[in-house]
Symmetry: D2
Subunit: 274 residues, 4 copies
C-alpha cells in the first residue's frame, strides 16, 4: 500500500501547494492513502469546513489536527459531520469529533488514522501513550486495519521518538507534526514501523514557522506583541513522508521524505519511480 502523509498546511500558500501538487501525486504515484495535517490551514490558525472540503477534494483521505484544532470555532461543530477529520485522541471525554478513524483508502483497504497531542512543553492533555495504546488495541493492524498511521503532534523530539517505539510493530507509520520543520531521520524502526520525527510544514519556508518574519522577530526581541501573526505568502514547499507497506503485514518496507516546490531542497521517493 502506498501512503503519503503531508505535514501541517499553513495558510493560503500551504493550501495552494496541496491543490497544485496533490492530485498529480495521487495519480503519478498511484497513492492508496493520503493524510494531511490541517491544524494551520485557515490563515495559520485552525481549519474551516470549506478548507477541510478543499483538502479532501485535492486527495486527502483523512485530515489530522493538533494544538490549533479549535482556533476556528466552527470546527467544534462541523467535525461531527466530517468523518475524515481526526482530532487528538487524548482530549477530554465529551470533546466533539474523534481521535481515531477507520477510513476507506482509495484502494478499498481499511486505514486507521490516529492523532495525538504530546505533553512535553505543551498545554497538557491526558497521557498520549495510554490514548494511542487504546486506539491501537481497539483496531489492531492486520486484524482490523490494513494500515495504521499515527500523527504525533508534539514539541519534544524525545516524546515523538518515545511514541514511535511505543507503536513499533503495531503501526505502519508514526510521523510527527507541530515543529513545522522537516526532519531527516526517516527510518524503519526495528519492529517494522516507518518513523519520521517531523513531517515539516507545507508552507512558505521564508518565514518563522510559516508566519511572516517581522512580527515574531520583533516580539522575540522586545517581548511585546505589536501585530497579529500573518501567514507568509511566498511559494510553499509541500513537505511530508512517503511510505510503502507490505500488504500482508501492514508494516513498512520503504520510507522517504517528500519535499516539492518552494525553498527547501527537493525530495521524492525514488522507489515510486519519481
Amino acid at each position: 500500500m502506498r501512503i503519503l502523509f503531508v505535514g501541517d498546511v499553513v495558510g493560503r500558500a500551504g493550501r495552494s501547494a496541496v491543490s497544485d501538487n496533490l492530485p498529480g501525486l495521487v495519480r503519478d504515484w498511484a497513492l492508496d492513502l493520503v493524510i494531511v495535517n490541517g491544524e494551520n490551514a485557515a490563515g495559520g490558525f485552525g481549519i474551516t469546513e470549506a478548507i477541510y472540503q478543499e483538502l479532501v477534494d485535492a486527495g486527502a483521505d483523512a485530515v489530522t489536527l493538533g494544538n490549533h484544532s479549535w482556533d476556528q470555532r466552527e470546527a467544534l461543530v462541523f467535525i461531527e459531520r466530517a468523518p475524515r477529520l481526526v482530532r487528538p485522541a487524548n482530549y477530554p471525554a465529551g470533546t466533539p469529533g474523534r481521535g481515531a478513524a477507520l477510513i476507506d483508502a482509495k484502494n478499498g483497504a481499511r486505514a486507521l488514522v490516529v492523532n495525538v497531542l504530546g505533553r512535553v512543553f505543551m498545554t497538557p492533555f491526558d497521557d498520549p501513550f495510554a490514548a494511542v495504546g487504546r486506539e491501537l488495541g481497539a483496531c489492531p493492524l492486520r486484524e482490523a486495519a490494513d494500515a495504521v498511521v499515527v500523527d504525533v503532534h508534539c514539541e519534544a523530539s524525545s516524546e515523538k521518538q518515545g511514541l514511535g517505539y511505543f507503536c513499533d510493530g503495531r503501526a505502519s507509520l508514526v510521523v510527527g507534526t507541530h515543529t513545522h520543520v522537516p526532519t531527516a531521520d526517516h527510518q524503519i524502526l526495528p519492529g517494522g514501523t516507518a518513523y519520521m520525527t517531523d513531517a515539516g510544514m507545507t508552507g512558505d519556508y521564508d518565514s518563522i514557522i510559516g508566519m511572516q518574519k517581522d512580527e515574531p522577530l520583533r516580539r522575540f526581541q522586545s517581548g511585546i506583541p505589536s501585530a497579529r501573526f500573518e501567514p507568509a505568502m511566498g511559494e510553499a514547499t509541500l513537505s511530508g513522508v512517503a511510505v510503502e507497506t507490505d500488504d500482508a503485514s501492514g508494516l513498512a518496507v520503504k520510507v522517504a521524505p517528500v519535499r516539492i516546490g518552494g525553498r527547501l531542497s527537493p525530495a521524492r521517493p525514488s522507489f515510486w519511480g519519481a
Copy 2:
C-alpha cells in the same frame, strides 16, 4: 572557505563516529574549519577535558556546548585553559569560559564561533538575541572575522529561525543544536547566511535522543524514574552540515547536510566531490 559543523556528540558511540570519520573528512574535503557540539560527549552529560582534547585531536577547531555545559563539573575549571571551548554567550556575568571565540582556522583564516542558549521551553538565561548581537557587533564578518558560525542551542524551531534571520547577512552559518534530530531545511537565507534548524546528534539513532530506549519509554508511561539514562551504544551517525563560503564576503554559497554511518539515510555534500 569550507566549514563542517557536527551536531551534539552523544557518549562513546558518538565519539567513535567522530574519531573514525572526522580525520578522513578533513583530508578528503579539505576542510578549513570544523566545529563540534560537545555538550553530551561524556556519557550523554557534559564534557571532560580528556574528551575535549580527543575532539580537538580528531580535527575540531572549536567545540560548542549547551544546556549540559557543566554536567561534568570539571568543565567549569578546564574551560579556562581550553581556548577552543565555547559555552553559551548568554550565561550570567562571571561564568567561567567564553561565549564567543575568534579561532584560527586550518587555513589561517579567522573564524568567530558563537554559542547561545534559547529561552523558549528551556531554563531561561539572558536574551539570546541581544547576546548574539553583541558578539556579532564586536567582531564583524569581513572586518574582524573571515567566517562567523553561530550555534543556536534551542528547543523551539521558531526561536532558532528567529535567530537565523536576526543574523542573516552577518554570519556564514547559523545552525541549531539540542533536539538531537537533523532537519532537512538547510538553505541559504536571503542575506547570504547558511541556515539549518538542527544539525542532528552524532549518536546512535536506535535510541531516544541518543539514550537507551527502555528507561525513557518507561518514564514517559509511568512518570517514575527507575534508572539512570545511559547512552545507546549502537553504531552512531555523524550528523551535521557542510557550508562553503565566498572568501570575499564570508557568506555562504553552498550548504548541504552531512550524515555518515549508523541508521540514518546517508548524505554528503555533492559540491565537494563526495
Copy 3:
C-alpha cells in the same frame, strides 16, 4: 467534626514540629481527623516507611503526597501496606497505592481523603478535574463519607481555585499544597466547602521553600548547581488549616489558619477555644 490539615512537612525540622505539637493539638482541640502532607518529610524529598509511621503515631489519620511521592523509592513498595498513605489520584493506571482512601476518623466517622496533582507549570499527569470528579462520585459526601478532604497539589493559584469551585458542595475541605507558603484566603465557598489556596509548609521559614538558602540563591544567580539542596534546620512552623464541619451535611461551618512555632505570625482557630 473537627479537621486539621497540616501542610508539606519538610525534613527533620518539619517532623519535629509535628511530633512536638500534633499530639497536644489532637487532645486540646479534640480533633476527629488529621491529615498531613508528607511529600517532603524525608530530607525534603519523599517519604520513608519509618517516617510515615512516625506521622501516623503523632496523630495523622492520613498522609498525602505530591510531585515528590517517589523520591524515596521505597515508597513505591511500602505504600501497598500503608493504607493511610494517599498519592495523587491522577497518576497512570498501574501506579502503586491509591489516589483516594476512605479512612476511619478518630471519632469513628468515615472520611474520604483525595490527593491530586495539578498540571499547570508541573510535570503533567491526567486531568485532575476528571480524576477528582471520579473519586467524589464514587464516594459521595453524606451518602458514603462523613467528611471529604481534597489535597490539591498544584503550582498555580488559578488551578487550585478552579478545583476548589469544582468540588464546592461536594467536599468538606479543599486545600492546596506545594508552594510551601501559607495563604491568607481561607474561606467557605458559596456551596459550603472550606477552601485555602495553600496550607503552607511545616518547616523552617528561614529558608527557600524549606531548604537552606545558600545553594538555591547561588543557583538562581549562576544557573549552575554546585551542591545538593539540604533542608533548613531552624525551628519549624507547623502550618495548616482547621475546619469544623456540620455533622448532618458534612460541609464546613468554620475555617481558620493554623501556624504554630517558628518564624511565622502565630494563628490558632479561635472557635476551638485556643
Copy 4:
C-alpha cells in the same frame, strides 16, 4: 516611615476598593508612602492613563506593573509621561518607561520603587537578580533613598524568596505580586528587610484569580476557550502589606498584612492603632 503596598488591583471591583478605602487609610494611618500594583486594573488586563491617574489621585505614590504591563497598548506611550509608573526592570533595553523610580514620598522622603519579573514558569526576561542588584547599587538605601520597596512579580514562591534574601538588608520591603492570593508569611528577614511572598490581589475573591469563574472552570475541563475572561464584579478585598521602617536605617521594624472588605478574613496593622 509608614509604607502601604497594595496588591494587583483587578478590574472595576478592585479599583472601587482602592478609591473607597485608600484615602481614608492614608489619613487614618498617616501613611508616608503608598505603592499599588496596577497590572490588572483595566478590566483585568493592563492599565490605561485614566486609571493610572485614578490610582494616583486615590493616594498611590507609585504604581507597579508585571507580565500584563502592555495589555493596554496605550501604556507603552503614556508611561513616558507618567513618572510614578514603574514597569519591570528586566525588560529589554529600549523598552519604554523605567524599571525603578526615586519617588518623593508624602513626607518628603526619597523612596526607591523597583519592579521586576521572575523567570520561573513565566515568559523569560533578563536575570531579575542582576537587574535588581543594579538598581539597588545605583540608589542605595540610606545614602540615596530613605526607603526601598521591591515588587517581585513572580509565579514561583522559591524565586520570590530568593529575591527577598538577595535584597535583605538593602531594601525596606520586598513583596511579591502575581499569584493574586495573599500569603501569611509576612516577616522581617534576618537583615532587616520586611518580606511577604504575595500581597494578594485587590479584587473580588469569589472568582478565579479575580476573573468570573465560569469560563476558567470550563476551560480547565475542556481545554477549549469559549469566551473572554471577564473580571468578577462582587465586592473586592483590598489586600496588601503594611510596613513601618526605622528612619535612621530605612529598614523594617514592623510588618503586617492588610485585608479590608470583601470575602477574606480582615486584617489591619495593630501597630498603627487600627
